[in-house]
């Protein structure tokens, strides 16, 4: 239980076409992440699946049952909102129990389910508190608890970690992944943070202007981006993209190479560069370079590398790791 299928789903707000047409199959138990810049339609697609927006055309199937015309509450999904959307005047217990209460479940059953969810999420000591007495991370867990108790066919997360500070975000990320392992439930997760997408997803859906650019596992997207957009969006620091005569040498309009695929060293194909600035992270050093042939380049070197700004450096591009793109931004597949 827990497959979701979108079939030529479109969404129009008055004259503006937000989603021109999306086809997507989400497998059972999969952790799928929608990622893209703001305004790319990722949240809209999630809300279409949830039933909080009506589709303009197309069909949504949950467990192969068409649900596009059904109200949100009938789709058997649970959603975790960006603002958590906890009911402020209800205790944690009341918040978690609300969905079950609305479903008219017996009291003892509700009590047992709430207790179990609270235990899973380490909320047992906070059951009688009000949301405003909780920290951000705890509120987030209550929101997740509210979703868990309903035993939904799939969980929908709408940028759930964007209101948390960096340290807590990493911790909650792990907790959500742990939860996915425990529940083995289908989860659809929306984020604009490609690090979240890379670390959490079984498969990533990269969206751009309401269209799906590419669907694949994090490593597929990383190693074989099928468009310039995906190449630029996935990976940090960003992939170096070079166009012009240097790209034409490779028979492409634009070539891309990731910072970690540029090595420091001498050789026949070495490129001489001036160091503009170096960022020392301890584990890595990001060196920003200016070159005559290729323009600005970023190089990721492992460990601590001495790189004084203004001095020159010789680097070699790994030819096997160069991505080639045509004038439309589509990848040119190696012959």
């Amino acid at each position: 239980m827990g497959t979701i299928r979108l079939q030529s789903v479109t969404k129009r707000f008055d004259a503006v076409e937000v989603i021109p047409g999306v086809d997507l199959s989400i497998r059972e138990g999969e952790f799928i992440v929608f990622v893209g810049p703001s305004g790319c339609g990722k949240s809209t697609i999630l809300r279409l699946i949830a039933g909080l927006e009506d589709v303009s055309s197309g069909e949504i199937f949950i467990d192969e049952k068409p649900v596009a015309q059904e109200p949100a509450s009938q789709r058997g999904l649970a959603m975790v909102f960006q603002s958590y959307a906890l009911y402020p005047h209800m205790s944690v217990r009341g918040n978690i129990a609300f969905g079950l209460k609305m479903a008219g479940q017996p009291k003892e059953l509700i009590e047992a389910k709430v207790a179990k969810a609270a235990e899973t999420l380490n909320l047992t000591d906070y059951l009688d508190r009000k949301p405003r007495q909780l920290s951000g991370g705890q509120r987030q867990r209550v929101a997740i608890g509210r979703a868990i108790v309903r035993e939904p066919k799939a969980f929908l997360f709408d940028e759930p970690l964007s209101n948390l500070d960096a340290a807590l975000r990493v911790q909650m990320r792990l907790e959500i992944m742990q939860l996915h392992k425990t529940l083995k439930a289908t989860m659809v997760y929306v984020t604009h943070d490609q690090v979240e997408a890379m670390t959490m997803a079984d498969r990533i859906v990269v969206l751009n202007k309401g269209r799906i650019e590419q669907v694949g596992t994090p490593m597929e997207l990383y190693d074989r981006p099928n468009s310039l957009f995906v190449a630029g969006f996935i990976g940090s620091p960003k992939m170096n993209l070079v166009s012009g005569p240097a790209a034409e040498q490779y028979g492409a309009a634009t070539i891309g190479i990731r910072p970690e695929h540029i090595a420091i060293g001498e050789g026949a194909k070495a490129v001489t560069a001036r160091i503009r600035i170096a960022e020392h992270l301890g584990s890595d050093t990001f060196i920003h370079l200016d070159t005559d042939e290729l323009g600005a380049l970023t190089v990721r070197a492992q460990g601590h590398v001495e790189a004084a700004p203004g001095t020159s450096l010789s680097v070699i591009l790994d030819p096997a790791r160069i991505h080639r793109f045509d004038a439309h931004g589509k990848v040119i597949v190696h012959a």
């Binding site: 949100a72 509450s73 959307a85 609300f98 309903r150």
Partner: protein, 287 residues
């Protein structure tokens, strides 16, 4: 936060205005207390003398007194109930995307801007007049006998008029509160399968607890003092409340002592109501 010096300076700086406000309050109050202890009638003003608590005893034992208290509380209670219940209903309606919403919102506030005296005259002569009134006309259309409001149901008539005046205030406060309700909460309730009724009772109403408290507190203060509507429509005989009774004693019976005693009793009554209100709803404001 502040140093002792700053605190002392602050007290010193506010002292003059506090003093003026205190005098503003205490002089009339002290004079009223003093007059309330005198037998002081304007028809016989030279023979004023100290009468102790006699005025209070006369005022309280007057059969009009219990009627006045009953009318006061009845009026306050009815108008509060009407403005809270219908205020919430109207606020929810006005929150919907209806055609010409901004104009409707503006129109709905207008009764609040009409002077009580004017509103009373309009209601008496245009709306509730048993022969030429709009309500009588509607009754006749429906085949009912028109009501002579100020003769047969003066309390209801006053309550309707005052409700009409105060409903916009409540609506406005509730509307701003309804609009501040988080959209994602609404969607969360939708996902949780809450019916419109459940959504109203479990999400909207608790969200409105604080504005309801504010409306009850503020309206009570003003509703205890309703006078113009009763005076202008001439329904003080049957629907007279405490302010009207004080007026009656002072300016119709020329009994300054009795009116002062009534005034002090009204102050005490208002304080009792205030204490009850604070107890009842103070908790909502704190949390």
């Amino acid at each position: 936060m502040a140093t002792h010096h700053a605190i002392r300076l602050g007290r010193l700086a506010t002292a003059p205005s506090v003093l003026v406000l205190f005098m503003w309050m205490i002089v009339p109050l002290a004079m009223t207390v003093w007059f309330s202890l005198l037998r002081y009638n304007l028809l016989d003003a030279e023979n004023a003398y100290f009468a102790g608590l006699d005025n209070y005893i006369y005022f309280v034992t007057d059969p009009a007194f219990s009627d006045a208290i009953k009318n006061t509380l009845l009026l306050v209670g009815t108008v509060l109930a009407v403005s809270v219940i219908f205020g919430i209903a109207l606020a929810l309606l006005l929150d919907q995307a209806i055609l010409g919403r901004s104009i409707v919102r503006l129109l709905i506030i207008t009764p609040f801007f009409v002077m009580p005296t004017v509103s009373a005259l309009v209601w008496k002569n245009m709306m509730m007049h048993p022969v030429s009134g709009v309500i009588a006309y509607l009754f006749k259309i429906l085949g009912l006998a028109p009501i002579d409001w100020f003769a047969d149901a003066p309390r209801s008539a006053i309550a309707i008029m005052v409700s009409w005046q105060w409903l916009p205030f409540a609506t406005l406060i509730f509307l701003t509160s309804v609009q501040s309700l988080d959209e994602e909460q609404k969607e969360a309730a939708e996902m949780d399968g809450a019916s419109p009724f459940a959504y109203f009772f479990y999400i909207v109403l608790p969200h409105l607890a604080r504005p309801i408290t504010v409306v009850i507190l503020i309206e009570t203060i003003f509703l205890l003092n309703v006078f113009a509507e009763i005076y202008v429509t001439g329904s003080g005989g049957m629907a007279g409340n405490m302010p009207y009774l004080v007026y009656f004693q002072g300016l119709l019976n020329f009994d300054v002592g009795g009116a002062s005693a009534g005034g002090i009793i009204a102050v005490i009554l208002a304080n009792i109501v205030a204490v009850f209100l604070m107890r009842m709803i103070g908790k909502t404001l704190e949390s």
